[in-house]
């Protein structure tokens, strides 16, 4: 309860009042919770709003930047990380945060995602995993669970989902964590760690879409699905002691990777130095 006045001060400070609300998201959607976590993380780190850029691609999550008073850019579908790469290279001092949905980051933008990780460029990638294409009405995405029904999988889904956090870890990211929109404080903590990390950092925020997937699969109402995030998830530590069978269908939360590897724009500064020495 003590958080209430502080909360409204944050809204005052970080939301754009010149932009007409309400927002585009369905009641009960978790994307707003992720936005709240980003705002609190930025506020907690005491960053100057002018030094923060928030970029997105296309989709429900793509609509996030317009509401906040940072340098914001709503780019094309799947390409937000590539846009952010150019921005970060010419403005390495800025904190560049990229929010994407699962379709945006891993289907159409999958190539940029693994290469940004491989390059270890200092961007913070936040993937809101709702396991579907919500804005276009519930088609299957790269993270839709097997057997789930989607408008383009009317008889059940037969493709394996990408495990986002594991994929990012393998691709070379410096920091990788997963949480859900139920675990708000944990999510905020991970986002703050990701922003602070000098390197490519990924936070997967699980937030299943109740309007489409939830309805098609009779997963219940938005509160039911929020409760399921609590019940179906477990920490990495607890998961370690589980059998493969027990882990089935569980959302494993926690920090997957936190390693110190040289960040791309800093390495490029060395290239500039070397080039100028050799030319001299």
């Amino acid at each position: 309860m003590t958080g209430q006045p502080h909360e409204s001060r944050l809204h005052e400070r970080y939301l754009r009042h010149s932009k007409k609300f309400p927002n585009v998201w369905c009641a009960g959607c978790g994307i707003g919770i992720v936005l709240g976590a980003i705002i609190r993380a930025v506020d907690g780190l005491q960053l100057d709003k002018s030094d923060v850029a928030l970029l997105s691609g296309i989709g429900c999550t793509g609509r996030m930047p317009v509401y906040v008073d940072f340098n914001t850019m709503h780019t094309t579908h799947g390409r937000a990380l590539a846009f952010a790469t150019g921005l970060k290279m010419v403005r390495p001092e800025m904190k560049v945060i990229v929010v994407m949905g699962d379709g945006d980051a891993l289907a159409i933008g999958g190539n940029h995602f693994i290469h940004a990780a491989r390059r270890n460029i200092g961007l913070t990638a936040i993937v809101v995993n709702n396991a579907t294409y919500g804005m276009t009405g519930g088609q299957y995405s790269p993270t839709t669970p097997i057997d789930a029904r989607a408008t383009t999988a009317p008889y059940g889904h037969i493709e394996q989902p990408f495990p986002i956090a594991e994929l990012a870890s393998t691709a070379g990211a410096a920091f990788v964590a997963r949480s859900t929109v139920y675990h708000v404080q944990e999510l905020e903590k991970y986002i703050a760690q990701a922003i602070t990390k000098d390197g490519f950092s990924v936070v997967e925020a699980v937030s299943y879409c109740h309007t489409t997937l939830g309805r098609f699969n009779r997963w219940g109402t938005a509160p039911d699905m929020m409760r399921a995030l609590k019940e179906q998830s477990t920490t990495r530590k607890r998961a370690e002691g589980m059998s493969e069978e027990e882990k089935q269908g569980k959302i494993v939360r926690g920090v997957f990777v936190d390693r110190d590897i040289p960040e791309y724009t800093r390495l490029y500064d060395q290239i500039i130095e070397r080039a100028q020495q050799e030319a001299a």
């Binding site: 002018s50 709503h74 490029y268």
Partner: protein, 379 residues
Amino acid sequence: MTVGMRPMLMQGDEACAEGAIAAGCRFFAGYPITPATEIAEVLARRLPQVGGKFIQMEDEIGSIAAVIGAAVGGAKAMTATSGPGFSLMQENIGYAAMTEIPCVIVDVQRLGPSTGRPTSPSQGDVMQSRWGTHGDHPIIALCPSSVRETLDLTVEAFKFADRYRTPVILLMDEVIGHMRERIELPDPATIELEERPGTTVPPEWYKPFENFPADVPPLVPFGEGYRYHITGLHHDERGYPTARLDEIRPWQERIFRKIDRSLSDILLYDHDGIEDAETLVVAYGATARSARYAIDMARERGRKVGFLKLKTIWPFAGEVIEHAAERLHHVVVPEMNMGQLALEVERVVGRHKVRRVNRVDGEMIQPAEILACIEEWTE
């Protein structure tokens, strides 16, 4: 003008890269593709020497995206590719047009369609450079016909990009890109840099897409205290998405107006002998070299032939030949495509007057082919 010039042998692609550096380009993102790869190779070496940055992206879509991102950060930025990569870039070129982000896209044309013949020239991307994106927006495309002109037009491309807040396409071809010519490099100090106009208003008043009074509102880079929104959705003057006709229409009118009102600045061309010509040859790029040769031969044989060499191909310089259209008997349009710019010429002088000379086999059009066409239609 010879003061400060250094004569040297240089390739067209290299001249493009040097022109970019001279124009103030400090960011390049690209993906290897014949016959444009040399531009990336030169800039990978040259950019860090001048404090700029180079990155080889994972594909052409990422390359143009990174270029736009860098431009939003305040850098003069460029990418270079060829037909297949140019096709991949189209969506984001449309984004740059929609969001009015200045950037330069070089397309060193090769024979298509598809993979075609990577080391053979073509002028097959003329219409793609105009209409390749979805939706309507103006575009500027420049087309050099020599190594020196490649350098000069690269500089012009950066100037136009900043002056009109628009993506600018430099449409080279394999011959111009790979050919080596003796050129005299201009002293970098003599090249005027186009400064991006800043804003004088405080951040809370700043409208990055303001429609009046200027046709080109100043673009303040990210990170300088002016926090605003950029989107590929139709947007209002502050950049916020809108579906209101009274906000969409003024924007649409302005992005066309900013180009249409400045044709006298944007249209670059060389011409000679149009005044008393009966036949006019309109050519651009490598083909203009064959055309020059053919015209000289025809004139030696007493033909009244005029020459219009286009350096700006989009917007099309229709007004230059409009006044001569009545008098001209024929207009010969040689192109290494099946007749793309010829369509524009036909719109100005009438279809019955236009004679096309086309080749799409990966070989340059020979002067004799153009000469034969001139002679066939002049008695």
